[in-house]
Amino acid sequence: MTFRRSTPFTDPSLDGPSGAMHPVFAAARLRFVKMIPQRIVKIEGLVEDINSKHGSSADLADIADVAHQLAGTAATLGMPRIGRLSGNVERLIRDALSSSQSPQSVLACVGPEIEALLDALEDAFLD
């Protein structure tokens, strides 16, 4: 049994859209980018619901779920910043969900991270 590496895939050729990409990932990256608008809309909708006081912990968990999906895929596709930001959002929300904080106060803490993630997603879509 060979000893395993634990480092993620970090081919520098994948940094940014101008890098030459392995064909395996090119199509997947294109699909990921095409799905960005619907993910942004989903996160913004959930944030709005929570801010309007109609939202619940379930909405926060939904944001964490979207962040989880982004984190797992983005880094594999050579978008480490989106991977890191979404991983942070997911971790912060899940840690807060185990406490008794209200969704609104959790959002107040995690808000800046969510904004940074949304900005990174927009940048990736527009590039």
Binding site: M1, P8, F9, V24, Q69
Partner: protein, 316 residues
């Protein structure tokens, strides 16, 4: 080989699909939920050779899916590889206890994924060859089928039992740092060769199951995983290293087995007897992979090790 891949992220399914195709596999079904997997296996005519399973999914998660697949007799030993972002020890523990064969974390390292799939393919090919050989043997009728003496096997009907290959993968997934404080203990069936010579494959597995169950009964107050590594060797992995009196445990297990003396005597077989080795820990400073602790625990109950233990007792 036929694969079923399940992940609620369609983009990740594209990545896995493309990776597998790049490795030359073309029978790949990609679905978005655990229920779709269960529907496919229930209605499918062609058997599945490997499942690639995400953990975090809505409704039913990948760990529950793994449990339910293992409950289907046809898929009791089919490789199930978890492909997930969840790297925390709790998830790894749950996955392997539920019956996972291997665990790959996202983001996906292409070379590592390729090497894991190659290992799964080797396992699949070996099992296929064995199954074909047995089928050919059975065509000649009345020829007792034998199992390879040094082959690992899954002990049936024990919740804590895992395949040796999966136990190795579990240790490799966790790594030495997270294995700190855990321990492995070898338990050798000292008259395994006698049973292997005298019994056909089914009878030999029955003996292994009896021994496995006896070990389980004597250890059930502890948290542990049990695996059969081949050559009469069982390995007990514990997430801690609380002291166990090995001599007392050895007496207990042999005591349980001795109760079945009459049953074995009817088949003209001796009572299985075990030797319990000392607990072996995993140091982050030790050379070699984390699986070395399994190998060390087994080596401590081999004939040379036994002589050392007996000499030690006499010296005491």
């Amino acid at each position: 080989m036929r694969f079923i891949c399940v992940d609620d992220d369609p983009v990740f399914l594209d990545i896995i699909n493309a990776n597998l195709k790049g490795q030359g596999f073309d029978k790949i079904d990609c679905v978005g939920s655990a229920q779709e997997v269960l529907d496919l296996v229930e209605n499918g005519i062609r058997p599945v050779d490997c499942f690639l399973v995400d953990i975090q999914m809505p409704d039913k998660d990948g760990i529950q899916l793994c449990r339910e697949l293992r409950d289907i007799p046809r898929y009791g030993q089919t490789p199930i590889v978890m492909v997930t972002k969840m790297s925390e020890k709790g998830y790894v523990d749950q996955a392997f206890t539920a019956g996972a064969t291997d665990y790959v974390t996202k983001p996906l390292d292409e070379l590592e994924f390729r090497s894991r799939i190659n290992m799964v393919k080797r396992l699949h090919d070996e099992r296929n060859l064995t199954a074909q050989f047995r089928k050919q043997q059975s065509l000649f009728g009345n020829i007792a089928m034998k199992v390879e003496y040094d082959s690992p096997a899954l002990i049936p009907e024990i919740d804590n039992a895992v395949e040796y290959f999966a136990l190795e993968n579990y240790l490799l997934t966790l790594g030495k740092r997270r294995l700190r404080g855990s321990s492995a203990m070898g338990i050798n069936l000292s008259n395994a060769q006698v049973f292997h010579s005298a019994c056909d494959a089914e009878e030999f597995f029955d003996v292994l199951a009896d021994v496995g169950h006896s070990i389980f009964e004597c250890l059930k107050i502890h948290q542990f995983l049990i695996s059969y590594a081949g050559s009469g060797n069982f390995v007990i992995f514990r997430p801690n290293s609380t002291e166990i009196d090995t001599e007392s445990l050895e007496s207990q297990i042999n005591g349980v087995l001795n109760k079945f003396q009459m049953t074995f005597a009817i088949d003209d077989l001796p009572v299985p007897q075990v030797i319990v080795g000392p607990s072996v820990g995993c140091s982050i400073f030790s050379i070699g992979p984390p699986t070395k602790m399994l190998e060390r625990s087994i080596s401590m109950v081999q004939p040379t090790g036994r002589t050392t233990r007996i000499a030690g007792r006499l010296a005491a």
